[in-house]
């Protein structure tokens, strides 16, 4: 049996659901040394800002149990350089670029989006709203529903109609469903989640914060349960909204976990640092996992874990009735209690 792994995000088709994660794959060139980045679902670029930016002082990273902290400070060459060099490189190779943009004000985001208009190779725009709002005492956009929707609205308005705009949510909020709803109401076609959790390490030798930036973003498998929970909650509340899921995905089964929770595609971030070929391995493992479970189309597992065990039926009436994977039709007493 061969599995149909294509996926659709807000009307745009992708050949498979495995993407890179913003800030963990630069703009694709480096990983292309290890595998063909056009073979991925999409390449999510490092968040691009209007101007060149030096980022923060070093140390910028600390390894933590099953994770890491980073405090890069969005170092990058600015959108012009990106449009002149990185985007054409991706387009030439047939890679689908998901351009992540970041700014300090609603206007920044609007300008960035309008600069992406009509550019070949842009498959999608991801709005990194985990940035401090310079106009509001450095409050992070993603932590406030109104600020988030202001940014998303501006980006949606300035983006080509056929290009999906995904808002990237932060888990560091009391009510992620509320923020998700605001973003969708403001025009987001989908949601990327999750960004890193705010964390910190203190160096017990120097007895000072380990990062020059003091706090940093926690990523990696350590945060996976938080990410899966966020995807689950938002898919539960907004089942029609496509989700690009991420946070600590290391294996094909981890990717499957996100799909089952409600993501239509996944991004592979931190794990790439330790395993540069991880995205292709994960796609492979995921495909095999679906095959083993007798699933013919990846789309069929999106959000599957939400459905009560007994009500899962094949979408087309199945006269034979036994090619339904045994695992789907559960009937152990241990599961009967699961609240819905």
């Amino acid at each position: 049996m061969s599995v149909d792994v294509t996926t659709v995000l807000a009307g745009t088709s992708f050949p498979n659901p495995v993407f890179t994660a913003s800030g963990c794959a630069a703009a694709g060139q480096e990983l292309h040394q290890f595998f063909d980045v056009a073979g991925l679902g999409g390449v999510v670029t490092k968040s691009i800002m209007l101007n060149a930016r030096s980022g923060r002082a070093t140390p910028r990273m600390a390894e933590t149990p099953s994770g890491m902290l980073n405090s890069i400070g969005l170092q990058g060459p600015g959108i012009e350089h990106f449009l002149d060099h990185d985007l054409p490189w991706l387009a030439e190779r047939g890679a689908r670029a998901v351009v992540s943009i970041a700014g300090g004000s609603v206007e920044d985001y609007a300008l960035l989006a309008s600069q992406l208009r009509g550019r070949p190779g842009v498959a999608m725009v991801e709005v990194n709203i985990s940035c401090p709002n310079v106009e509001d005492r450095g409050q992070v956009f993603a932590c406030d529903a109104k600020a988030s929707s202001g940014v998303v609205n501006a980006v949606r308005k300035n983006t080509d109609a056929g290009i999906p705009v995904f808002a990237k949510l932060s888990p560091d909020v009391t009510d992620i469903v509320g923020i998700a709803r605001s973003c969708v109401d403001a025009g987001a076609d989908g949601l990327s989640m999750i960004n890193t959790l705010l964390g910190m390490v203190i160096d017990t030798t120097t007895m000072r914060p380990a990062l020059a930036g003091i706090t940093g973003g926690l990523s990696g498998p350590a945060i996976r349960p938080v990410a899966v929970r966020c995807v689950w909650q938002v898919h539960q509340a907004l089942p029609e909204v496509p989700i690009l899921g991420m946070g600590g995905i290391r294996t094909g089964l981890d990717a499957l976990e996100f799909l089952l929770a409600g993501a239509s595609a996944v991004s592979i971030g931190t794990v790439v640092f330790g395993d540069p070929t991880a995205p292709v391995r994960i796609l492979d493992e995921l495909t095999r996992a679906l095959e083993e479970r007798g699933i013919e189309r990846l789309r069929d597992v999106v959000g599957l874990a939400h459905r009560p065990p007994r009500t899962v039926v094949p979408e087309e009436p199945d006269p034979v009735g036994d090619d339904l994977p045994a695992a789907v039709v559960l009937d152990e007493p241990a599961r009967a209690e699961v609240p819905s």
């Binding site: 101007n51 030096s54 070093t58 060459p77 640092f273």
Partner: protein, 283 residues
């Protein structure tokens, strides 16, 4: 063009305070030049350590009985190197390499000085061989905290035209630092080019001594790295470009070897105010 190779430990042995590990990693030796480094996965499949550890490549063998092998020398520093030091022959070891920009070699047969601190001598030894093959005179200065932290002294003696050794505690060679003896070495041998690898403080001193004398020097730096392949931006340091502008450059892909006079030594660990993209700086 680095490779990711699921390799196997061929051998591991103590060398003074260090360990030397040889891994079977077909394909990597052919691509390796002196100054390249290797990124090694640590901890096994269920490890809590996600990030690779970087090590300068010491020796490579294109093909042996086992296929190509790569050797590196390391000090036990923290959890990852502690795990590495417990590897035994036939254990699996996933490596990525060769990484980074290697040392650039002089075209002519000039006088070269190599300055190594601690395990920093490891990449300098294959460099010495390459330089001798080009007919260069190679003077070696090795320094370390103590005698057991000197690596490759005998080999350097064999390859080099001369060798001077310093230790902080005077347990062997001259008591002191490499920078105490380097000026004399440069003068005596009319050195044309210097290569250095070792702790940042040593590299800074060497670069300054070379700058004073107008001697070009290349240094291999050691910055904390999350990915080693250029995608994470954790390993940056301020370096002056050929256009005179300072940028925060990735030491894993644009280094680890830099021209000594291009590194803003006093501002390593900071973002200089005049760096491209610094708050208020040039764009």
């Amino acid at each position: 063009m680095p490779l990711q190779v699921s390799g196997e430990v061929l051998s591991i042995k103590r060398v003074g305070a260090y360990q030397s590990l040889t891994v079977i990693a077909p394909g990597i030796p052919e691509l390796t030049r002196p100054g390249h480094f290797l990124a090694v996965q640590v901890g096994g499949p269920e490890s809590s350590m996600l990030l690779r550890r970087a090590f300068a490549i010491y020796a490579v063998k294109d093909r042996g009985v086992y296929g190509g092998t790569v050797e590196f020398v390391f000090a036990v520093h923290g959890k990852g190197t502690a795990w590495l030091s417990a590897r035994r022959p036939q254990d699996k070891l996933d490596v990525v390499g060769p990484l980074g920009k290697p040392f650039r070699l002089p075209k002519a047969a000039v006088n070269v000085a190599l300055v190594g601190g601690g395990y920093g001598s490891a990449p300098l030894l294959p460099l010495a061989t390459a330089l001798r093959e080009r007919g260069c005179r190679v003077d070696v200065v090795l320094g370390a905290g103590s005698a057991d932290r000197l690596f490759g002294r005998l080999e350097a003696k064999r390859i080099g035209s001369s060798i001077v050794v310093t230790t902080d505690d005077g347990s062997t060679g001259q008591r002191g630092r490499v920078s105490d003896v380097l000026p004399a070495v440069l003068e005596k041998n009319a050195t044309d080019v210097v290569y250095a690898c070792g702790p940042m403080a040593m590299l800074k001193a060497v670069a300054e001594q070379c700058a004073e004398r107008g001697i070009p020097c290349q240094v291999a730096v050691e910055e904390s790295m999350a990915c080693g392949i250029g995608v994470c931006m954790t390993c940056v340091l301020p370096v002056v470009g050929s256009d005179g502008l300072t940028r925060m450059v990735r030491s894993c892909v644009e280094g680890p070897v830099f021209l000594g006079d291009r590194v803003r030594w006093d501002e390593v660990g900071t973002v200089p105010a005049d760096a491209v993209g610094a708050p208020g700086g040039p764009r």
